[in-house]
């Protein structure tokens, strides 16, 4: 379908696709197998200016929008959702600075991100997943510093990022209004990495604990004001969800293409299996779902790029719909390919494993439906 992309957007998409096919495709199976971080690919993406896309021009970026980002994430995910995540999580970790950073913080962080440094976003804890208000990590002001204590869990890019946006409680008595957001740099004393998780999918990405043990962060690293932590987290997730949707669209597209290619080649009963109508209908359903997910994702991204004031509903719809599609399409791709699809020699079993997380992270799809429903109710009250 023609999504009326600008010349610049086509250029961004084509470059991302070239990187995916030249640099990611040859190593994706190995990165998955060895659970290895794609350091070299991140460097290529940095050198190719793909990290500049979402950074404003005044901070050495290219001032692109959410749709530009989605095109990059989709193209890399089409080949490997795990590699794409290391890139997308940098956007997630950078959004708090883009939205809430002061001039000094932006000058400090954004040019480095533009040049290819990675970032991470640290909200989740052992007892604070969907109920993010239950976080236990604390930040206590002491002179010119905040002293952070606690452990963050399942943090993407942990150990590989240069900047971490960390949500910690500055006033536990105030509940969710007592949280604040801090920029913590990688080599800050008192900040170390805990265990690296072993995951079902997206295994090229790094997921670790972050451990803060009397970690002193200068007061100037506080984003916005004390008490703004949850607002920052929610606004950040609203803006990053189209990126998860794009990751899901990319995984689904990759799975569809693999299934289609296989069905044309695989001979059974004296003919390619694509000649069987049962297979054709599965592929037709997969293609429809992928296109619908892409259309919704691009529409949500364009809504944000057009300057919408609120867009939680649209962002949640895109994330929820596209990730459900990715899971179904990847599962069906395995089915179309039968026993071959189940084998690690072919990429679709990995795509099925990679797809699952998109229904879970950055808010489970149950939480997304809560967000959508809450917005529907609010809209009808007006």
């Amino acid at each position: 379908m023609d999504y009326q992309l600008t010349e610049e957007q086509q250029m961004i998409r084509d470059l991302a696709r070239a990187i995916a096919e030249d640099k990611v495709l040859p190593v994706r199976a190995e990165l998955d197998e060895k659970e290895e971080f794609p350091t070299q690919i991140m460097k290529v993406m940095g050198d190719s200016d793909l990290f500049r896309v979402f950074v404003p021009e005044e901070y050495d970026g290219m001032g692109g929008g959410v749709l530009d980002e989605c095109l990059i994430i989709e193209e890399i995910s089409r080949v490997c959702g795990g590699v794409a995540l290391s890139y997308a999580a940098t956007l997630l970790g950078t959004i708090p600075v883009l939205l809430f950073g002061n001039e000094e913080q932006k000058k400090d962080v954004l040019p480095k991100i533009a040049a290819g440094a990675l970032a991470a976003f640290a909200l989740t804890e052992a007892s604070a997943g969907s109920d993010a208000s239950n976080i236990q990590t604390t930040a206590v002001k002491d002179g010119d510093d905040y002293v952070i204590n606690g452990t963050k869990q399942w943090i993407t890019n942990g150990g590989n990022a240069l900047f971490y946006t960390v949500i910690a409680m500055t006033d536990k008595d105030k509940g969710s209004r007592g949280a604040s957001a801090f920029i913590v740099e990688a080599d800050t004393p008192g900040f170390t990495y805990g265990k690296k998780e072993k995951k079902m999918g997206i295994r090229a990405s790094s997921t670790t604990e972050l451990i803060f043990d009397n970690c002193r962060v200068p007061v100037k690293n506080l984003l916005s004001k004390e008490g703004m932590g949850f607002i920052i987290a929610l606004k950040t997730l609203d803006l990053s969800r189209p990126g998860v949707a794009a990751q899901a669209v990319g995984i689904a597209q990759g799975a569809l293409e693999e299934a289609l290619k296989f069905a044309k080649e695989r001979q059974q009963g004296g003919q390619p299996v694509i000649q069987y109508q049962a297979v054709q209908h599965m592929l037709a359903d997969m293609a429809m779902q992928v296109e619908a997910a892409r259309a919704l994702t691009y529409a949500a991204a364009r809504t944000i790029d057009a300057g919408a004031k609120t867009y939680s509903k649209e962002a949640s719809m895109a994330k929820c719909f596209a990730s459900d599609v990715a899971m179904r399409v990847a599962t069906d791709a395995v089915q179309v390919m039968g026993g071959h699809g189940y084998m690690r020699e072919y990429p679709v079993e990995k795509m099925m494993r990679d797809a699952k997380i998109t229904q879970i992270y950055e808010g489970t799809n149950q939480i997304q439906r809560n967000v959508i429903a809450a917005n529907l109710i609010k809209e009808t009250l007006r």
């Binding site: 250029m11 470059l15 990187i19 290529v44 050198d47 190719s48 200016d49 793909l50 500049r52």
Partner: protein
């Protein structure tokens, strides 16, 4: 170090069809790409520049649309691009092509190193690089797989030969042609692509390159393509069976018939 890279835009397919009437390549409907071997030449030139300073000029002879190939080279680090384009250049064989490119290199003001791919995907002759060197009276090395060093007025290169490689010292200015083993070409950056898009491509016509017009294009090309065809494969093999003695007798008989014995 000033480097000139010779590149060519070629059809992006190995199944190239020939027009049976004109004996020329059919280019319509075939995607045009930069000759893959030339991408290694561009990358090596940009690396030499990054290590030693200087400029990289990419040069091509071709129709106006060959400017796209030059822009691709600009997007990965070349500094300027020159398109040599004129109807007078049409129908050039390797001699006329190398004569024209050499004239353009002289007009550029020469170069410390001229780099080309080992051959093109369409013509496949591998002659243009060495011929440019002869026109310019420069030393040259073909099939270079590594530039070990580039200082003191010479290059030390490793040159692929059939059973290994040779290490040569070659004084600059010189011409080298490179093989794919020499590097892994970088992908462009977004800023590079955007700058290349806006870049102006200098175009030189026949009159810009001097008045020896007879040596350009078809009139400067002693090579005449009389006919092109895919050689027919005729299966003439014959299995000789029987006992060893019978087989030997039959073979000797056959060889006598063929006049070999």
């Amino acid at each position: 170090m000033n480097i000139v890279v010779l590149i060519k835009q070629v059809p992006g397919s190995t199944e190239i069809k020939v027009d049976p009437k004109t004996n020329t390549l059919i280019r319509d409907g075939v995607e045009a790409i930069v000759n893959p071997f030339d991408t290694y030449a561009v990358e090596e030139a940009v690396r030499l520049k990054e290590a030693n300073g200087g400029t990289v000029t990419v040069l091509t002879m071709g129709p106006p649309q060959a400017a796209e190939a030059l822009k691709q080279a600009l997007s990965v680090g070349a500094d300027r691009a020159i398109l040599v384009s004129d109807r007078a250049f049409a129908g050039a064989d390797t001699l006329a092509t190398s004569f024209t490119l050499a004239a353009a290199i002289r007009k550029i003001g020469g170069a410390d190193v001229v780099i080309a791919g080992k051959q093109t995907l369409d013509g496949d002759t591998g002659q243009v690089g060495p011929e440019v060197a002869m026109h310019l009276k420069l030393p040259f090395a073909t099939y270079v797989k590594k530039i070990e060093s580039a200082d003191g007025g010479k290059l030390r290169v490793e040159r692929l030969v059939e059973d290994g490689y040779e290490v040569l010292d070659i004084p600059t200015p010189c011409v080298i042609t490179v093989v794919k083993e020499i590097n892994d070409p970088r992908l462009p950056s977004l800023r590079g692509i955007m700058a290349a898009k806006k870049a102006e491509i200098v175009t030189w016509s026949a009159s810009d390159l001097g008045d020896d017009v007879k040596r350009f294009g078809l009139s400067g090309s002693p090579t005449q393509v009389v006919e092109t065809y895919v050689p027919e494969r005729v299966k003439t093999g014959e299995m000789i069976t029987g006992t060893v003695e019978q087989q030997v007798d039959r073979l000797v008989e056959k060889l006598k018939e063929a006049g070999v014995l």
